[in-house]
């Protein structure tokens, strides 16, 4: 059984927040989903290696040579708030930091 406290904890890990109504709804739904995925416990996986990718590639290296990027002006076009060619964010050290 998933509790509201667990959902709040996971939401914080995922940098999400929910109001009380959403929290109730997500807790009910996640509980159903977790209940559904729990059927994996019926499978005996003793000694079975996990599969995290399906290619035979191990590590893919390339030479460490500088490559031309898109340039600052192009990249800044998608930035929500910018000033003087820099990305603007709220103060990182701030008395209001929660």
């Amino acid at each position: 059984m998933i509790s509201k406290e667990q959902v709040t904890h996971v939401a914080d890990l995922a940098r999400l927040e929910f109001d009380e109504a959403q929290l109730n709804n997500f807790t009910t739904q996640l509980d159903k989903i977790v209940d559904f995925v729990d059927q994996l416990n019926e499978v005996d996986t003793t000694g079975i290696e996990p599969t995290t990718h399906v290619t035979s590639a191990v590590n893919v290296f390339r030479d460490d040579v500088p490559q031309k990027g898109e340039g600052r002006a192009a990249l800044l076009k998608n930035v929500p708030e910018e000033r003087d060619g820099l990305i603007r964010v709220p103060a990182i050290i701030d008395k209001e930091e929660d």
């Binding site: 995922a14 999400l16 927040e17 989903i33 559904f36 499978v43 399906v54 076009k77 709220p90």
Partner: protein, 490 residues
């Protein structure tokens, strides 16, 4: 002037080369028809008309290359594939103003062949869903019955092709997102082998599962477009170094002696009667064409869905960390700390289904739960893959329905996540195993909704799928049926 229901890429190419029509006329006719049908279907998020017409004029000036079948052919592109200078949103509020600064590798490859991007097609937000109902940009309607979903997540691409708005479109498939909408819309759709097509520039959802593929009315058209987009790419370390065969060489072949396996789990209870009948008829057609068909068992099928939802959601929760409101995308207003930029931008920018997946993924990866959920799912994935490896030692193809039911009603499943997830039971196994799989038009339900038969082959053996699908297409007439655009009052 141009009716996509009566053409394929080859016939359009002939008309262009022989100057029966100009590229501009083809592009204009495409948009004229889209203007007439979009009100019913809503397959596109963004149209690219101005740039497309400019490109058409340049091509008319230069002349269509008689040796390049794709020259001047208008295509639809799913909106999670980045297109330089053309808005790309993944159907999410968090990217609703995002303008890519580079092209996906598949777009560079298509651009080099002078295809024309008609627009960006609608989809479930970040490709998470099976009905295109989680899009921030409204629902897409199934052209066969406007009150039904087009499937998803590539529902816009599928509906655009089925409605005759484009001749072919790119889709993406993480757990069935090309094949299920192809089945629901009565068209062909292929998810190639994991690694066959570069994922560079595909907005990541489940990186070990995602694959770009093609949807079209005819099998030859998909073979032509897949030829164009396949191949190793240094930008994608998981792309396959293997040679790419000419997939059209698999067409017009005899399939005598082809060995086909039908897992009994794929025809179990839960699969609609009309679907079972259509698949049985398809089996009979393959037997008539000289294939041998045998019933087999894939015992871990039932566990593929829960394993998939843990793995895909875990990968998604990691991939979607990049949407933080800082460098691009939506940023919440009136935020006074860095953490609240992240939390508020993500909470206001993502829709509910995306949040559910991020939550399930974060939970599965979190301390104390990793072994019981993520690792367990990855072990079950090994068993699912092993099942297929053993089958492909004896058989050339695995056959079954693409989806357990024909298209369901708009609004019918969206409130119940688990029921929606179970609709993917027949498509998910191919993604877990990384093998190629396609949906081929195979009939209609009593209500006139399309049904697809799914063909799966061993890794890198798309050619056998094309060979069998093409033989089936030549001996059936399902792909020539035209949707009625009925319903749509609500």
């Amino acid at each position: 002037m141009v009716d996509y229901f009566k053409e394929d890429i080859t016939s359009l190419h002939d008309k262009l080369v022989h100057k029966e029509i100009t590229v501009r006329q083809l592009v204009e006719a495409t948009y004229d028809y889209i203007d007439k049908t979009e009100g019913k279907v809503n397959a596109f998020i963004t149209l690219n008309k101005e740039a497309a017409l400019k490109q058409a004029d340049a091509l008319d000036e230069k002349g269509v290359d008689p040796d390049n079948l794709l020259s001047g052919i208008p295509l639809g592109i799913k909106d999670n594939i980045v297109t330089k200078g053309l808005k790309t949103t993944a159907a999410s509020h968090i990217l609703d103003n995002f303008m890519p600064v580079y092209n996906a590798t598949v777009m560079d490859k298509l651009d080099a062949l002078d295809t024309i991007t008609v627009g960006k097609t609608n989809m479930d937000e970040f490709a998470m869903g099976g009905s295109t109902e989680t899009s921030y940009f409204g629902k897409t309607h199934n052209p066969w019955n406007l009150d039904k979903v087009p499937g998803g997540s590539s529902g816009g691409s599928a509906a655009a092709v089925a409605a005759g708005e484009v001749i072919a479109a790119l889709g993406t498939d993480t757990g069935g997102s090309i094949r299920q909408p192809a089945a629901f819309n009565g068209i062909f759709g292929i998810k190639p082998t994991y690694g066959r097509v570069s994922r560079w520039g595909l907005m990541a959802f489940g990186s070990s599962l995602d694959q770009i593929g093609v949807m079209s009315r005819t099998i030859k058209d998909s073979a032509l477009v897949l030829n164009a987009i396949s191949g190793h790419d240094e930008h994608d370390g998981t792309s396959a170094a293997a040679d790419v065969p000419d997939f059209t060489a698999a067409l017009n072949q005899d399939i005598k002696g082809l060995k086909i396996a039908v897992p009994k789990e794929y025809m179990d209870e839960g699969v609609d009667d009309d679907v079972v009948s259509a698949i049985k008829a398809a089996i009979a057609t393959f037997e008539k064409l000289g294939a041998t068909v045998e019933e087999v068992t894939l015992p871990y099928t039932k566990y593929a869905v829960p394993a998939y939802y843990i793995i895909a959601s875990s990968e998604a929760s990691s991939n979607l960390q990049r949407y933080d409101g800082i460098r691009y995308g939506f940023r919440a207003k009136d935020v006074n700390s860095l953490k609240s930029v992240y939390v508020r931008s993500r909470s206001e920018g993502f829709g509910d289904e995306v949040k559910r997946r991020i939550m399930l993924g974060s939970f599965s990866l979190s301390a104390g739960y990793y072994d019981a959920y993520f690792k367990k799912a990855a072990q079950v994935r090994t068993l699912v893959k092993r099942d297929f490896d053993q089958l492909f030692e004896k058989y050339d193809l695995v056959l079954g329905p693409t989806a357990p039911t024909p298209a369901f009603g708009l609004g019918e499943k969206i409130t119940d996540p688990v029921t929606m997830y179970l609709n993917d039971i027949l498509t998910i196994p191919a993604n877990l195993a990384g093998i190629p799989a396609a949906s081929v038009p195979a009939g209609f339900s009593k209500d006139g909704l399309p049904i697809g038969v799914q063909l799966m082959a061993k890794a890198l053996d798309e050619a056998t799928i094309f060979k069998a699908a093409d033989a089936f297409e030549r001996h059936t007439d399902f792909h020539n049926q035209v949707p009625a655009f009925k319903g749509g009052q609500n």
